[in-house]
Amino acid sequence: MKLINKSHVAKKMPARLAVNTICKGLFFLATLVGLLVLAILFYRIFTQGIGSLNVDFLQNFASRKPEEAGIKAALIGSIWLMVVVAPVSLLLGVGTAIYLEEYARKNWITTFIKVNISNLAGVPSIVFGLLGLTVFVRALALDRSILAAGLTMSLLVLPVIIVAAQEAIRAVPRDLREASFGMGATKWQTILKVVLPAAIPGILTGGILALSRAIGETAPLVVVGIPMFIAFLPQTVMDTFTVLPMQIYNWTSRPQEEFQQVAAAGIIVLLILLIFMNSIAVIIRNKFQKRY
């Protein structure tokens, strides 16, 4: 039996440990790259945009002159978009999740629906724009309205909401359902009065994250044909409108230097809106989520 040559191992050990330490440092540096980029991005946008960001900027409509340009129509438009996307996507998403978790039998239809949802999540957002253009704008003749854009966006974020709602419903323990059935409640009564209330924090958290994705999306709206230059506020969901990312895209693609500062100011407004929504999601998650 050959024994390990201890002196040979001992001779190699310092080098092996040194390589270990060096690689640990490299892995750490790579991790810092992401953080560094984020810091530069925030710093650049803040310093570029802060000069243009004032009360007038929030109250003015878009303008050909950079010093008069404002974000009012786009900001209100983004909120209008949410008025359509929030109820439609939550209703469809939570409905699908309840069906899959509580009612669906294990058969090929259920498997097909599940595979379909995970593939839908990987479809590029611009393809959803083509769907919206053909079905909502042209076939259903909704034109370039808030409704057409909102329905397109709802389908885009649907997979995110379904998956979040499924996880939230799955996390509700069986005991609660059994107790409800034991009291004589029917299946739907149990879902409506026991399962959903327990799952609502998780559903809301996922829902808000999905909405914040919809608020930042640009590509599908460009394809749907939402205008970038609007100087009035929409009154109904059938009116045409513009949103924050579209307005930022418009300013970014102009050659004048001044418009880039206006674009940066628009980005600050968009980021503040996103941070606000995400904070609400985090607060809901931490405050109301019960651990069973």
Partner: protein, 312 residues
């Protein structure tokens, strides 16, 4: 006699009476309604496929499918238009390769650091920051590429054009990096501790354990995460529209202006290509090609993670 009857009026009878009063039976209607909502996600997919197929057929009625795949020029706006998709595919692949060169090493190293080396406290600080990076709207990244990354690169390489493949490629890489990091980290964390301890007991250092034991065990999840992230890079739109330019070409040069499939769709959509023109239908043919590319990659990712998963 009458009095006795009311006395034995049982709870069961009350329930039965209440049940019979209800006009609609919720227990039967609700599952059907919920099934309809679940079916909408299927209809969305069918809608996407039918839309793309029908409009692409109209396009191929006017432009031959052979020309579409073999012609080396994409000049839809020329007086003698030419519709060969290859330049757009080359542009898209250039962006994807540059993004992969940036995102795969950084993402993988971040995943290894978080799962093998970092303390619980460090992890709790870094993971949310990566989530923020993943949640930034792509138009913001586009602005960043055009107004920061491109000028910095032009200081380093003066021959770089204002619109080029390099800058948006790097920024797309930064955008997909958190996805690779977080999905790969999940794969690494799910490798059981006992396997690592086995390697330590044989005298392996942490690095040797990670490279020779943990990485091979998690490889299916890691490869799947990379394929998924690259599929995202192919479908990415706003960064390449803002910073990549609009010159479709076949050259392998990364310093000059390009056009990707997604950027072409944006260019046509934000211009005034009238409904019914060949240019209008061309965006569906390009969209179809894009859809097939990403679908194949997503299916590949699912196949890899199912087929090669090591079960413990």
């Amino acid at each position: 006699m009458e009095l006795r009857k009311t006395e034995t009026y049982s709870v069961q009878q009350m329930i039965l009476e209440k049940k019979s009063k209800k006009k609609i039976n919720m227990e039967k209607v609700i599952p059907k309604l919920l099934f309809i909502t679940a079916a909408i996600s299927v209809f969305t997919t069918i809608g996407i496929i039918l839309t793309l197929i029908f409009e692409t057929f109209i396009f191929f009625d006017r432009v031959s499918i052979v020309e579409f795949f073999t012609e080396a020029k994409w000049l839809p706006f020329a007086s003698a238009p030419s519709y060969g998709i290859m330049p757009l595919i080359v542009g898209t692949l250039k962006i994807t390769v540059i993004a992969a060169v940036v995102a795969v090493p950084i993402g993988l190293a971040t995943a290894i650091f978080l799962s093998e080396y970092a303390s619980e406290k460090t992890r709790r600080i870094i993971k949310p920051i990566l989530e923020v990076l993943a949640g930034i709207p792509t138009i913001v990244y586009g602005f960043f590429a055009l107004t920061f990354v491109t000028p910095v690169l032009r200081d380093l390489f003066p021959s770089l054009d204002m619109f080029n493949a390099l800058s948006p490629g790097i920024v797309v890489g930064i955008m997909i990096m958190p996805m690779i990091a977080s999905l790969s980290e999940d794969a690494l964390v799910s490798v059981p501790k006992s396997i690592r301890e086995g390697a330590y007991a044989l005298g392996a250092t942490k690095l040797e354990t990670t490279i020779k034991v943990v990485l091979p065990a998690a490889i299916s999840g890691i490869v799947a995460s990379i394929v998924l992230a690259l599929s995202r890079a192919i479908g990415e739109t706003m960064i390449v529209s803002v910073a990549g330019g609009s010159t479709p070409n076949m050259s392998m040069d990364v310093t000059s202006s390009i056009q990707t499939m997604t950027a072409y769709i944006v260019q046509v959509s934000s211009g005034d290509a009238g409904y019914g023109t060949t240019i209008y239908y061309s965006i569906y043919a390009v969209g179809m090609t894009l859809f097939v590319f990403t679908l194949v990659m997503n299916l590949l990712a699912q196949f890899i993670s199912r087929k090669f998963r090591e079960e413990y």
